[in-house]
Symmetry: C2
Subunit: 499 residues, 2 copies
């Protein structure tokens, strides 16, 4: 999967004249807002997926809407590719620079412009950190629900670009469900307002189209976020299972009972043991899997749901059901989950985090099949994931210093994503396609669907300058990768019934 970034495969642009680029762009930007020294560029050579690296011709750091507009227009006129970058925490290589192109970094757009406690909204610039919104909203008894695990560092603009999720999106939805409007700048420097503070917007839903568009259509310059009331009470259940399949069935049982937990996470044996050694969370180390189920809301209601979920977990065969005694124990249980990724260092020198979604009912089948695939490829896999919404994060364990191990990890990752597609799932849950999953797009979508993506892209960016080589594969690439997937003709969902 992790082939090196080869722009020739997906897009070709004439080499940039760096002097001319500087002469044209630097005057549009504030002092220090145009960087093209080797050392400065090196700092931006990759995002949160460091397996890919490439160098832009220049990094630009605009501070005003007008600067974004003039930079975009200049790049369009020069025919220079533009990649937009937020905090650079993305895991699919979406903010990987286009070699020799411009990297537009939005980190100076870092103001929270307004919190409106009556409208339950926050108006923010895209460089604002995700967690900073909830911190600013807390005095009003409000919070911003999407909480990717990078929420301390990641920024709202990147969240919009990737349609970010997190533990709480099971109950509160993805980014697209938690924003009301975005202001964007197009390649030709136009400013568009998409969506609005009212419940519905007229015209085509461009706000949803831009959300998750991975920098392919324009640059987000302002966002109106929907805030939620902070729940009165939050409680957490930990359930241990002797069998991973039974844990997966418990997830289905909880959701089918009509309970909507604030979060419903699963960790399998290898993951929970590594996490326990790392974080001393108090997990039962002999379990084959644990579930963490969080319920929030008003106190009485939470108490009742906790009872109901506990009973369902026991009926589903949980060996142990523990309700966090207090806030301290609740935090500890979560600390293990949150430390699971860094804890992987105890299992292997390197890990590769995969992101796919599947319908919940396929969980037992997919977990079993994933184990089989790991054996075939000769690598270990630890599972830590958002079980409630079927968003898997298998962690493939490998050693980059062993010859061929990275290639094995890439092959296994691709196979797991294609397994997700085969049960009616998706190759991304919250990390986006970026550069990483460009080949798997060919498996997910038919030729007609890929053509529809290209037509939409061309409507905003006829020259193909915005984030080239990302998110949408060329048909040539798909042919090279091994042909397009075609849905089962007239009944696109019929294949689900096999599982």
């Amino acid at each position: 999967m992790l082939d090196q970034f080869d722009p020739r495969l997906d897009a070709e642009f004439p080499p940039v004249d760096r002097q001319a680029l500087r002469a044209r762009l630097a005057p549009l930007l504030p002092a220090g807002g145009y960087l093209d020294g080797a050392e400065a560029l090196r700092a931006y050579e990759s995002d949160g997926l460091p397996a890919y690296r490439s160098l832009p011709a220049a990094v630009v750091l605009p501070e005003t809407l007008e600067q974004v507009r003039t930079v975009m227009k200049a790049c369009a006129e020069l025919g220079v590719p533009v990649v937009t970058r937020g905090a650079g925490t993305g895991l699919s290589g979406g903010a990987l620079p286009f070699p020799g192109g411009v990297l537009l970094v939005m980190s100076k757009f870092s103001k929270i412009l307004e919190i409106d406690p009556v409208a339950l909204t926050a108006r923010v610039q895209p460089g604002v950190r995700n967690l900073a919104v909830s911190e600013a909203a807390a005095p009003h008894g409000l919070f911003y629900a999407p909480d990717p695990s990078s929420q301390l560092a990641c920024s709202i603009g990147g969240n919009v670009a990737e349609n970010a999720g997190g533990v709480h999106c099971l109950k509160y939805g993805l980014t697209v469900h938690n924003i009301l409007a975005v202001q964007v700048v197009t390649l030709d420097g136009e400013v568009l307002t998409l969506g609005g503070p009212a419940a519905d917007a007229a015209g085509l839903d461009l706000m949803a189209l831009f959300t998750g568009s991975e920098g392919l259509l324009g640059v987000v310059t302002e966002v109106l976020l929907r805030l939620q009331p902070l729940p009165e009470t939050t409680r957490l259940i930990l359930a241990a299972f002797d069998d991973v399949g039974r844990a997966a069935q418990a997830v289905a049982a909880i959701m089918a009972a009509g309970v909507v937990p604030a979060g419903l996470e699963m960790m399998d044996g290898p993951a929970l043991r590594a996490a326990e050694d790392f974080a001393r969370a108090g997990y039962p180390k002999d379990a084959a899997a644990i579930l963490l189920c969080e319920i929030d809301g008003q106190a009485e209601d939470v108490a009742e749901e906790i009872e109901r979920v506990s009973a369902l977990l026991r009926e589903s065969g949980a060996a142990e059901v523990r309700i966090a005694r207090d806030e301290d124990e609740r935090r500890r249980f979560w600390a293990g989950r949150k430390g699971a990724f860094p804890a992987m260092g105890r299992l292997a020198p390197d890990y590769y985090c995969i992101d796919g979604t599947i319908p919940r009912k396929s969980l037992p089948f997919v977990l079993a099949e994933m184990g089989r695939l790991a054996d075939v490829h000769g690598l270990g896999v630890a599972n830590v994931f958002h079980a409630g919404d079927g968003n898997l994060h298998p962690l493939i364990l490998y050693d980059a210093n062993l010859d061929g191990d990275l290639a094995k990890a890439e092959a296994l990752g691709g196979a797991i994503l294609e397994l997700c597609v085969s049960v009616g799932g998706s190759i991304t849950g919250e990390h986006g396609v970026g550069r990483e999953k460009i080949n798997q797009m060919c498996v997910q979508f038919s030729e007609a669907e890929v053509n529809a993506f290209h037509a939409l892209k061309a409507a905003f960016d006829p020259q193909g300058l915005l984030n080239p080589g990302k998110a949408i594969p060329t048909l040539a690439r798909c042919a090279e990768y091994g042909g397009m997937h075609v849905h089962n003709g007239a009944l696109p969902f019929a294949h689900l019934e096999r599982f």
Copy 2:
């Protein structure tokens, strides 16, 4: 607003050779699936907005996906406009035939294909009636949340095309929040699957783009709906106010307290008195306004919220707060609300139902301003609306037999929608733009935004054959109507702060 349908203004097509059209299309369809007799066409001359009427060259009634594909391809080759129609209950003229074009009626696609109680989904054809989904889901303890007031008759395909709402969308969201995937056929006969059963979909969010696209991009041929667990308990509060502004403030107070009612409806004096005379709901006839606030969920939680909301209503100055004693009284309170539209016949021979949304905090201002506009135009207005999400439905009272009265109603309707835009709202909440609000689109959007809509439309329909003259105005029309609205430059939401 209700200018007659003048296709020359927005789109021009050569006249159709009716013999050739029949020769080409009729063989593609089952017996009785091609209608072009004068009497048959007359039955389809308008939708739920009968002020507009026009006749298609032919009505086609496909029964299979393949028939939809071949009809679409044939129309594309012939260069004949195609308007898709569901149940024809729409209120913005979206299914008004294009004069001399093809009307594609999806009523034969009327099967519920699958209810999946584990995945909480229903897979249905677009001609299935909205209420039929909830009826089929009820034995599994589930329901389909969007409930437009036409839910007995309207069909899912039309709901998707208009992004339909209803009383319960305050808590459960619009149609776009309650569907997981759509299968669509494009003008060139391609079948696309947009979205999927998993939590997130890869690629650009075409599912959201198609939802609410009013037949401009393709034809919906299958929908995967999200179902919700039926709430254990549902209770209703009626609150009466001596002052409309105070009722509006109570709405803001409830929402700001973090309560999310299942429905929060307002009726003003004229509306509630007409409804009471019509339905004998038990409303206090001397009130200036009433609120109906429904809470659903688990019994204990509902009891607690009912207490909380009652207190908030009293604090906001309600003259009377009544909790429906039993299911019978709850149904009676709703019967008045549901009968409010037909009850208008007691106030005036005709009424014109407007649909706009505003931020909740602007409710008191907009209600007052609307009264002033009604006086200026010399017509009465009764208000019955989804107050919780700021979705207004002013009913303009007029007499079509009085010379000039309809023109006055149209002018007042346009002025009210433009008032909604001026406070940061939208010219549609759930009825769509259709033919009705095409001029107001020029007020809602800037030239760059209208251009973006056209570019997207052209990506799917370069010939402009799908539902021409609807939803997106030409720039020429906007110039004629009186210039484009331009957002306040760099801060598109700043104008909200004025209110």
